[in-house]
């Protein structure tokens, strides 16, 4: 099975406190710790496991710039067979449909049985996978938390729905699935693994290589544009308990007694 996994390099929200830039139109990007978008990492692990069991190859792709190569190499160190970088000045400012349009062109250049994305990017909205599928006329399923390969060009999949319940479906290949965190346990990638793929060539494709109309992507093609960032307006907000740790604990004990949590 030929599998394409779409990944993103994003600021790691568990490692960073996100602040606004002084101009207010972006977040402060200096000194941010970047990593692969968490659900995308689960998608790559799932692809590697499927290819190991059913045979085939795993290609990881990202739309971005040279800086984003590091996440491709990280996923190649995990076990993806190759990486592809889609990069062009014309791609800057793409909305979800723009990214899906760029990825569609790559999918049509190759022969992929299965295309995986992460469920959602830290700065995205769970859109690219479903849009890509619709552009390709492939079936789609989101929030996938289990995959079984069946005979006859089909998969059995489980979707995460409310209350921890699982919606089971059968889906024909080729298809696009967006992968939910927790589907597997992504393997650890050490520095040694990353060094081993450090010099592997990563092909880069732009609009002309892909046959993408520059007017359909980037700022030119975007119907959805972020105008500015702002800090969320605090609601009433928590009363922050003050004092020494002992005093804070005493206050907390009294509060819990009053609210029925301690008796």
């Amino acid at each position: 099975m030929e599998i394409l996994v779409c990944v993103r390099r994003v600021p790691d929200t568990s490692e960073n406190e996100i602040q606004l830039s002084s101009a207010g139109n972006d977040i402060e990007r200096d000194d941010l710790v970047y990593s692969v978008n968490e659900p995308d990492n689960y998608a790559v692990e799932e692809a590697i496991q499927i290819a190991a069991n059913a045979g085939g190859n795993v290609t990881v792709v990202t739309v971005g710039s040279e800086e984003d190569e590091e996440v491709l190499r990280r996923e190649m160190a995990m076990g993806a067979n190759q990486g592809v970088l889609l990069s062009d000045d014309a791609f800057a400012g793409s909305d979800g449909k723009g990214i899906a349009t760029i990825l569609k062109a790559l999918v049509q250049k190759g022969h992929y049985d299965l295309v995986l994305t992460g469920t959602q990017a830290e700065d995205g909205g769970a859109q690219v996978g479903g849009m890509l599928a619709a552009l390709l006329d492939y079936p789609f399923a989101s929030l996938v938390n289990a995959i079984t390969v069946l005979d006859g060009g089909k998969l059995k999949i489980s979707r995460e729905i409310e209350g921890g319940n699982r919606e089971m479906s059968e889906i024909d290949l080729p298809c696009v699935l967006s992968i939910q965190t927790g589907i597997n346990e992504p393997r650890y990638v050490g520095m040694r693994g990353i060094r081993q793929v450090a010099s592997v060539e990563i092909p880069t494709f732009g609009t002309s290589d892909l046959g993408v109309d520059p007017a359909s992507v980037g700022t030119a093609g975007a119907k959805v544009k972020r105008t500015d960032y702002f800090m969320p307006v605090l609601g009433k907000g928590a009363e922050i308990l003050q004092g020494s740790q002992e005093e804070i604990i005493d206050q907390l004990i009294e509060l819990m007694k009053a609210k029925g949590g301690l008796n």
Partner: protein, 327 residues
């Protein structure tokens, strides 16, 4: 001004809470709007839902088709593409179903798509200005969306308060004949109901709920000791389940359990909206997090800025002392 449609999610003949929230969101786009409720399904359940909406929507489009008796988003999308006129604004809930439906619907209707919207600033007729959150709710963003060829907007559950208004006398319009042929390369098989866990977190007075800040599996014991002292249980947020440190049955949130304790100790978690959606009954929420900017402090009643790995054992000690528990 484009017509506004609201996709009504429903189950067992009852409309989801999002039905009223989408009506409220439509009013934020255009205060004079009379949004149309679109309801897909089959049989008596569908009829019951449509009837129940007549007091809150002035027009209800009933789309009956046996193939979408179960809401398989791949089939529902095809039906909506055929039924809803081009250049409309379509509101859908940002739920597990909306996430499945909305992106593809926007492509097939050549509409703009904005997902997970939590506020709407208004429209000038050709563009719509909305608010989203990014980076786990740490920052918000204004987004401008070109609606000249329609838009699909997914609305965050709970973000829009239903508006009180005098009951309407909604008109029912049967659009079933416009559905056309439905074929899906994805076929629904069954729903597997979550297994009950060893501890039922939905029936506890006190929950000590841990997030990523617990750092490793061995540290769960720290939370368990506090829960034991308080006579409660340990629950958690999604990253703890993803890491396999606790079973799925301990997860609070829209994709986990809905809990209604008296006191909820949110320990080392950011407080994502998916997590908060699982906390009902207005409990007293105590947030303990070493990051003073963690979004959880916006919704908690009281907050403690501290490292839970140091703070929780001290709290446990004091609780034991107060209750006269010796170990």
């Amino acid at each position: 001004m484009a017509r506004i449609f609201a996709y009504i999610a429903h189950k067992g003949g009852v409309a989801d809470d999002s039905a009223a929230e989408l009506a409220a969101a439509a009013k934020k786009i255009d205060a004079g709007a009379s949004p149309v409720a679109v309801v897909t399904g089959w049989g008596p359940d569908l009829d019951a839902v449509c009837e129940s909406l007549r007091s809150s929507y002035s027009e209800i489009w009933k789309v009956a088709n046996q193939a979408i008796a179960y809401p398989n988003a791949e089939l529902v999308r095809q039906a909506l593409v055929n039924v809803i006129p081009r250049d409309s604004i379509v509101l859908v809930p940002h739920s597990h179903f909306g996430i499945d439906l909305a992106p593809g619907l926007s492509i097939k209707t050549n509409s703009a798509f904005v997902s997970d919207v939590l506020a709407i600033d208004g429209t000038d007729g050709t563009s719509l200005k909305v608010v989203r959150q990014e980076f786990g709710g740490q920052v918000s963003a204004h987004v401008r969306c070109d609606i000249s060829s329609g838009a699909i907007i997914s609305i965050r559950p709970g973000a829009f308060k239903p508006v009180e208004s005098s009951p309407l006398a909604g008109v029912m319009v049967d659009k079933s004949a416009e559905v056309g042929a439905l074929t899906a390369a994805r076929r629904y098989l069954e729903t597997i109901v979550a297994e009950a866990g060893d501890v039922d977190i939905t029936k506890q007075n006190v929950l000590v709920s841990v997030g990523r800040g617990i750092q490793e599996q061995d540290n769960i014991a720290i939370a368990q000791e506090l829960a034991d002292a308080l006579g409660g249980a340990v629950s958690c947020s999604r990253p703890v389940v993803d890491a396999k440190w606790l079973p799925k049955s301990r997860q609070v949130g829209s994709s986990g359990q809905t809990v209604k304790p008296k006191v909820y100790l949110a320990c080392g978690m950011s407080g994502s909206f998916q997590h908060l959606a699982g906390i009902k009954g207005n409990p007293f929420i105590v947030a303990i997090n070493k990051n003073p900017k963690a979004p959880i402090f916006q919704v908690a009643d009281v907050g403690v800025v501290a490292d839970i790995l140091e703070f929780l054992p001290e709290l446990t000690e004091k609780v034991r002392e107060v209750k006269g528990i010796s170990v």
